[in-house]
Amino acid sequence: MIVSEAAFDAPSLSIFSAILALACSGCCDSSSSDSKGSIPVTNSTEFFIHVVSSGGGTEEYVAPGATVTVSEGEITALISPGQGTKGIVQESTSCCTNDDNSKSCGTMTVTSDASGVSAQLEQPTCTGGGSCPYVYAGEVLAGESLVGALNRGAAREDVIVLPSLQPVDGSYRVRIAAELKETEYIDAAWLEVVDHPSGVRIVKDREGVVRAASEPGTPGRVTLASGETLGQVLDADDGVYWEGRGRDRMLDRKIRDWVDITFARPEGKSQATLLVHGRNTALVQDAYHEYMAAFGPGLPKLMRAMTRFSKYGPALQGYLRDAGFSLDVSLKRPEGWTAVEPVGPVGPAGEQTIAVPIDLPSDGSANITVRVAMLPGAWLLDSVVMSSGAPIPASSKRLDAVGSVRRPSGPASAESVDLAAIAHRDGSQVQLNTGSSIELRFVDPPRDPGIERTAALHLFGYYEENDRSPKRCIKWRALLRESLSDNSFAHHVLKRLASQDVVDRYADEANVRRPR
């Protein structure tokens, strides 16, 4: 990620020196970075092939059916000369580092057919990978919070609605956990309980404001970007998803796939609320870690050094949105498509419903059409419905935690310290290292009979990804090249998606269920 110069305020000397030190600590385009992994390349053609790796290692005359090993990097496989056939393919490969600092590298298989030579990549999977705090409603994983709040400069408030959270023995118990390779910093945490009539859905919007929505209207017609009709996939939260995988379409110069959803115009309404329910995929999260790791072990350090700049947070959010972590929503008006506020990333751990307010076009048309676009493979959309009911009477209360329990357990004095730290947004923080969690207890206040109550957890904080490597070098050329390249991250995701398609096909044939 490159933050434009315009985003910087005048840096302090110490920060500038830190950045300069990182910048001058060497380029790790060749061998000065973490040790390179080895990629097995299998020749599944009927020809001899040459395999050339930019990371080092060349193997000529690889016999049909043979497997050789070359260093990770840009791997070029070409049909060896003199066989009456030509063909060449180039793929970018990378390895990832596990918790035990061992390397996991994918594999590459070279095949050929009448159209030429192609390569299939099996991308590596490594244990862990930084992410955001996991939130449990009781013992049930509800989802992730503070998605995209990477490093101190991006600290923000986030809300996660917990529709399944119910009081036990008069108390709500919510657990915040650092389950992946990250450290969470929670400055403030409180529970908002909303009392509302039955049948009302409590959701949050992009700003973290909790809203009450009712009378959701299901989609009338859902049309894919290809023109085909999707059917009744997005009309209910039923675990049946739409995942855009069309890879050859552009929208506003970004690689995107989309659906156009038509609703019946609510009578007498000038505004409505789109309720988008879904989650990000593990694929896009893994792709992000691979993509960032490719720029060298110094990049996370550089990003942390840049968090002092006030524009770091907005720049990061802008990058995540443009890269495809958000859903792009637009409304069809007589003059064309108009962008509406996007749906921010929610992470892959659990689905969330995000409310998107829209001003209905005043053309009096019978139908309202919205377009929801995603980076292919980045989202699983469960439902998109429209709420346009009358304002719903709902009252909310803020609950502060009255008890906390650390896991693994800490000293007895830690509870009071933790409660004081998260009571207010005051700079004092609860720090959760990888594998630890904190369970907060909130007292359920009395409620009126016949009223339902839904809780939403508010957090203010950020997270830092664990930095395994002591090295500081950055692959500047690769970073500059990718930053100047349009849809750079999208192309990386598409490669991942191509490999995933191969795996999914084999899984389908073997009747093996694969996690998404």
């Binding site: 020809f47 001899f48 193997e59 000529e60 005359y61 000369p81 009456g84």
Partner: protein, 241 residues
């Protein structure tokens, strides 16, 4: 004279005695006679010709049919080449010397280039080798102005090469070539052309391991026959003592 050459050990002994008798007969003789005995440091510069032979010179396609194209059993990857050699050394005994030789030559890949182009591939390949050896040299025969010697040496041979593939605008090094432990031996002859300067011809046979190692199969040792021709200068003798 020929009988002495057939029995090298005997020849060495005979030559030594001949040299001794020659020197004995020359005791008290004018200084010009003593100059025939080479002494001190030497330096030689040679034109070198290498002829590789053995399985390692055969192309992986030899005898195969690929893409409808059948290649000869004897399709050669590496062929004769030429270059240069530098020799530095000195006498360590009356009939013995130690030299350090460094040679660098190219090897021909023309046959492979032509075969690939006939198959429709536009390539240009190149191979070269660099060797450094320490030789022990024994004088076999000396009858002014002629010398004959045998030498045996060990060292390192580094063969490298690559290919420019114009079909794809891709170039790559040959990973199946590399450094190898080398053993060389042979005979040589010299003709004294002037004080301290011999025109020298050396003929060697050499081998080096591990040699060529493709991703399939086992390594094949290098073998070659080499000839070196050029002046060898005995520095002390040239100095006129």
């Amino acid at each position: 004279m020929l009988t002495r050459l057939v029995l090298p050990l005997t020849t060495i002994a005979v030559d030594t005695r001949a040299a001794d008798s020659e020197q004995a007969s020359n005791e008290g003789a004018p200084a010009t006679a003593a100059a025939t005995e080479r002494t001190g440091w030497l330096i030689g510069g040679y034109f070198a010709a290498f002829v590789p032979f053995g399985a390692w010179t055969t192309h992986p396609y030899a005898g195969k049919t690929l893409g409808g194209i059948t290649y000869d059993e004897g399709l050669s990857y590496f062929g004769p080449g030429w270059g240069g050699s530098l020799e530095i050394g000195g006498k360590v005994a009356r009939s013995a010397a130690i030299t350090v030789d460094m040679e660098m030559t190219g090897l021909s890949t023309a046959e492979w280039d032509r075969a690939a182009q006939r198959a429709g591939s536009n390539i240009s390949s190149h191979v070269a080798q660099f060797g450094g050896h320490v030789f022990g040299v024994i004088r076999l025969f000396h009858q002014r102005p002629w010398w004959m010697e045998a030498r045996m040496g060990v060292g390192l041979l580094h063969v490298w090469g690559g290919e420019d593939n114009y079909d794809y605008a891709v170039s790559y090094d040959y990973s199946f070539l590399g450094a190898a432990f080398s053993l060389r031996g042979g005979v040589g002859g010299a003709y004294e052309v002037s004080r301290g300067v011999d025109l020298t011809l050396l003929l060697d046979v050499g081998t080096a391991v591990p040699g060529v190692h493709y991703s399939f199969g086992s390594a094949m040792p290098y073998f070659d026959v080499a000839a070196f021709i050029g002046p060898r200068v005995w520095l002390r003798d040239v100095g006129g003592k």
